[in-house]
């Protein structure tokens, strides 16, 4: 029977190998990766609980009310986004499994329906973000296009305090190694420019007093980021982890 779940298969591929004149290249040592959970890691829970936004995580009894109402999970069919499951993985310490959701976990739109409904008073939205912060700060998460877009967006916004869409589009697409056919771009860009809906480059909108305000905001963001990394790093270093 073919194995459908390719991610479970590990293969040693040998491209060119000849032994005593015989070509033996091909797939060697095909193994099924074990699905047995062999450890429990307390670091995630310790860290999430130590954060002011994360301490309600321990109240969760896994009822699924949050997930049942979460618009991402139900309305947008993003069944990989499951706040109840993220909390479970963090509570029990299935860190490896949790890491699979390092980029998905950020999709939360902060509608707070989950918080409104949770029978145990878990601040689900904040807890989910805190778990995300842990994953981000402790690294190892492959950066997704969504992460890169977030970064390009923030950078763009911080420059003038208002979005320069055309520039964001250019920078992001270039970063992804994509270009749009020039003619297509010109047509769309010109229409938008003519209608006055798009202002870019030197014509772009500006925010009054942005130089000072932007500097404060940037400093604050950098400070937050540094703090988060420090405390996550401290947890990661402090041992704990799998016992």
């Amino acid at each position: 029977m073919p194995i459908v779940e390719k991610s479970l298969v590990t293969v040693d591929r040998t491209e060119h190998l000849e032994i005593e004149g015989i070509d033996v290249s091909g797939d060697w040592n095909s193994f099924l990766r074990s699905r047995v959970q062999v450890d429990l890691d307390v670091r995630v829970l310790d860290w999430v609980r130590s954060q002011p936004q994360g301490d309600t995580i321990s109240r969760c009894w896994q009822c699924g009310t949050c997930t049942a109402g979460c618009c991402l999970h139900t309305d947008y069919g993003l069944t990989d986004f499951n706040p109840r499951y993220f909390i479970y993985l963090a509570q029990v310490g299935y860190e490896e499994e949790l890491r699979k959701y390092s980029s998905t976990i950020w999709r939360c739109v902060s509608c707070n329906k989950c918080v409104e409904r949770c029978p145990k008073g878990v601040k689900v939205e904040e807890v989910v973000h805190t778990i995300g912060s842990y994953l981000e700060a402790t690294g190892g998460a492959p950066e997704s296009p969504a992460d890169r877009f977030d970064r390009a967006y923030t950078e763009n916004l911080l420059r003038r305090g208002i979005l320069d869409e055309a520039d964001l589009f250019r920078t992001y697409e270039r970063g992804e190694g994509r270009t749009m056919p020039a003619r297509e771009m010109l047509r769309m860009g010109l229409t938008l420019l003519r209608s006055g809906r798009l202002r870019t480059g030197p014509l772009a909108h500006r925010t009054r007093g942005w130089r000072r305000f932007g500097a404060v905001l940037r400093a604050k963001l950098e400070e937050d980021e540094r703090r988060r990394r420090e405390s996550a790093g401290a947890v990661a270093r402090a041992g704990g982890g799998p016992r």
Binding site: W61, G64, T65, A68, T79, P119
Partner: protein
Amino acid sequence: MNPILVLGAGPAGLSAAAETAALGAPTILVERESYLGGNPKRWHYSLLAPDLRPSDEVLGPLIAKVEGNPNVTLRRSTTVSRAERLERGYRVTLTTGAAQETQEVSAVVLATGFDHFDSHRKFEYGYGRYPDVLDFKELEGMIHDDKVLRPSDGKPPRRIAWILCVGSRDLQVGNPWCCRMGCAVSIKQAVEIRQKHPEIDAYVYYMDIRTYGLWEDLYWKSMQEYGVKFIRGRIGQVTLAEGGSRLLATGEDTILRRPTEVPFDMIVLASGMEPGTGTKEAAALFGVPVGPEGFLTPTLSDLNPVDSGLPGVFLAGAATGPKAIPDSVTEGMGAALRAYQYARR
């Protein structure tokens, strides 16, 4: 000896009055309703867990022990409106309609019981809005009369869901405690329905099944012998489906790890137990301490489970917390003994 006053004629109060009378003490049993038997009688409970005996078979003998008992003065449709502490015992004012009467009593047993959680407060389940969403106390009566039909159109349901812990273990409504009965009673209802109507499918949405102690047997049987099915997840909301002819239960099946939106013909809410209004009144009247949950608190729940800490006031039954009938009856006996000892001193 002045009579012993027992307040409330549910399982606990009936049991207490029967025992004080058996000890030879004159007893006044005061019940604010016109009937005896408390909540089981009020809502016409059908079979009682765990032995699945008809509730009349359980309550009947208890009621018979006090009715016509020469040592028991029965005061139906009556409440206590004033209580004054004396050197020994209390002077109480009994109010029946407009009539009032003052009476000295040597000791008091408070067996004022619980009220059901008002399911309207979990508005997302549509109770009161959709006729086919029922509170499980209402289903008790339907099962008792063998008329399990959809209130909306009078048709028999094909598929019923129970939602557990409604108004229990829920900080949104301020009730963090477990009702103790909801699991067992819901499962019992599903068994009763499947016994008589195997064509009706029964599903229970649960987070934990708390059929504690020997009651676990009921849970096992429900699956093995009656094919009741259990889905792990808490329903988030109930809406209408299929042009309004059925109900849609939206939740997460936490084992499947996917959202579920399944249509049902009837949805039954296992509403929890709250301290009864009568219990709150009695607490204020006699000055009995109440815990953060609003139930009366015994001085030590392990060693003095029926002592209020006030001289001559004893506690029994669901007034001190969610409780089953066997425990309520036992506490009634304990409180009777303690009240008798106090009155004799």
